[in-house]
Point group: C2
Chain length 397, copies 2
């Protein structure tokens, strides 16, 4: 039988790259492709202890829960965000199945087909997929290393009257960049002036290499009316619990909560109980310090390999945190084509092209440094640089 699908899923297609990478993850290839934390660094004992406590502390840990999520965990999140300068109360917080669901529910309650959203370019691929599924018009804003360019932002706010601006201002995925405070302030100012909402996606903010450095969330600059802020425990604790949250104006959070009730009633509440106990009983700050140090060292290995290789025309920004190193290859190189060759040599990455809304740069790649051991990083980079060097010889010979 031939099945008729909804228009909104017409763009949903498995890409050749994704299919290739699925195979890669199963094999012996060293993969810099995924966005995974290192399972060897997971606080397994702490997670285990937290679950043990949850089974007995409250009977409700195994029963149906509220759509908004376990209130004591929302209180913990209020406290954690306060340390980052974000003021809130639990009525402004909805627990979600990872921050991915926060993006989806936000889009679900906000957008009619044809509504406009401004984004960085490149930006988080899976957010683009969500927006596309709601048939939203995505307009990219030009950026430099410090964030969206004020001129282009102002021009596009005027021209397209966007309902929302989606940004990953701290250690962006894929480009690994950090917005300056001035650019954050300017974006908020524009949003207020033009009555638009900012969706600030901050999954990586805690993974900063310099613990002293402060990257003020845009939500911390706001009076609680124009910014929705989403983050997750996936990078700081473990991903499998799929626990993220979104903070925003109660009116929007309430609507999202009603949409969530239809979507899945509520997220896994046992995990919410366990995360509450973990945040109370475990030195999560100390754990995050360890992650920062370890991931920094791994980033340095990757960076040092690239620097030593000294390939003309290859450039990158040294990340100040997060999980990704974003590389521009020499212009003549096509990262999608090169991927096949790289996989044959035993190493994989994600081509940068799909992260672009428009003006795809085919010579970009995203490298993840958090999931591989130092040994694999050294070996993988050696293989990868060989592929680049050979290709370069080929192009210029």
């Amino acid at each position: 039988m031939k099945y008729g699908f909804a228009n909104r899923v017409k763009h949903l297609q498995s890409s050749a790259v994704r299919d290739l990478l699925k195979i890669v993850e199963k094999g012996n290839v060293i993969s810099f492709a995924g966005g995974l934390p290192d399972d060897n660094l997971f606080p397994v004992d702490a997670v285990k202890a937290a679950f043990e406590k949850s089974f007995h502390a409250e009977k409700s840990s195994l029963q149906y829960g509220t759509t908004e999520g376990y209130a004591p965990l929302r209180e913990v999140i209020v406290e954690q965000m306060k340390e980052n300068g974000i003021q809130s109360n639990i009525e402004e917080i909805l627990l979600t199945t990872g921050s991915q669901q926060a993006i989806d529910l936000f889009a679900r309650v906000m957008f009619n087909p044809g509504d406009v959203i401004l984004t960085e370019n490149p930006t988080y691929l899976a957010a683009l997929q969500v927006f596309q599924s709601y048939e939203v018009k995505i307009v990219p804003v030009r950026s430099d290393e410090d964030g969206m360019l004020p001129d282009d932002l102002e021009y596009k706010m005027k021209k397209f009257k966007p309902k929302c601006i989606y940004v990953v201002p701290t250690f962006s995925n894929p480009a690994g960049k950090v917005w300056s405070l001035e650019r954050r302030q300017f974006l908020l100012e524009m949003a207020k002036k033009k009555k638009a909402i900012i969706l600030e996606d901050d999954p990586y903010g805690q993974i900063k290499f310099n613990s002293e450095e402060i990257y003020t969330p845009i939500a911390a600059l706001d009076d609680g009316t124009h910014v929705l802020y989403t983050s997750t425990f996936s990078k700081t604790v473990v991903p499998a619990l799929r626990t993220g949250w979104i903070k925003g104006p109660h009116q929007i959070i309430r609507m999202m909560s009603q949409a969530k009730q239809a979507a899945d009633l509520h997220s896994n509440s046992l995990s919410q109980h366990a995360l509450y106990h973990l945040c109370r009983d475990f030195d999560l700050d100390g754990h995050i310090q360890m992650l920062r140090k370890t991931y920094y060292e791994r980033m340095r290995i990757m960076h040092d390999s690239l620097q030593a290789a000294n390939i003309p025309g290859l450039s990158y920004v040294i990340p100040k945190g997060g999980m990704f190193l974003w590389v521009q290859l020499p212009e003549a190189m096509n990262a999608v084509n090169l991927l096949h060759q790289a996989v044959k040599q035993g190493v994989a990455y994600v081509p940068g092209a799909p992260f672009y809304v428009t003006d795809q740069k085919l010579n970009t790649i995203r490298l993840n440094y958090t999931h591989s051991s130092p040994e694999k990083l050294v070996k993988g980079m050696e293989l990868l640089i060989n592929v680049f060097a050979e290709t370069e010889d080929h192009i210029y010979s």
Copy 2:
């Protein structure tokens, strides 16, 4: 600031009844309102042991998982469904955040605004809310105790050319009815003839009071092309793990899986690992036998109270399983109005009206008998019957 929301959420409004019941659940009122299993019957030790095993059996239990869900659990589900006559393979199964998410993802990939879906009337309220959120036209089919009436079904299939028929044929929510085999066969025949899809929602099938009785799922009559079948571990194990599944043609499941990737990447995978171990190590069949027996006894208490009260004009069908007793009060009674009075007296229920697509019967109520202890069932029914009797005196005096 005034926020502009999407059209699809305009119907999402907190109802007065829901708000009242939220308050009720926090107080000392005996509630027959929710659809909760009894937490005192949860297999806590088995769940605990299953989690303990998961932490150490496989490192992947805490890492990101696949969107489709943990393959060994999907294999267990294939085996379990086979016992119910449903043939499948793991490529046809998607794990979801409860079966609620299965309904949502199905609607998401199938429906354009204006598409038609046929349903029973009354039917599962939260499914109606999902369909409404995708701006689907919901057309109710007339039913009797054995399921949809063939004449009306045939007429509406012809007239409305529905893309889908949504049914809860075994211990329906709210009406607690069981379809006859003939009606199941007729529905499938009609679906095949008219190239429509059946979404068979079966959360309660395992909670049957006569273990020997066989209620063949419609999916077991199908050749795998026309029926999507969804169920859950929420009623047989515990709800908090939010683990349900949907089985259907690979082409649709694959599309739903791609939609799920955008919606939340994947459901809680630690719980999927734990459920796998629980199904292997624990006598789940024995546990379900205990649930059947216990819930049957509770249903009898409720039923006996109603019978003894002998209120003229009050009628109900004795459930053969599931979690609900569906009561028709005398015609002159309005269950929404009565609820306030009942709550004042210390007992709550859900008025039946919101479960109707059209032709709401204001004199219907849904009573849950699984969540209250026998003592509370006796006491609560006493209070409730007093409310009915007093109202009746008032009406007929």
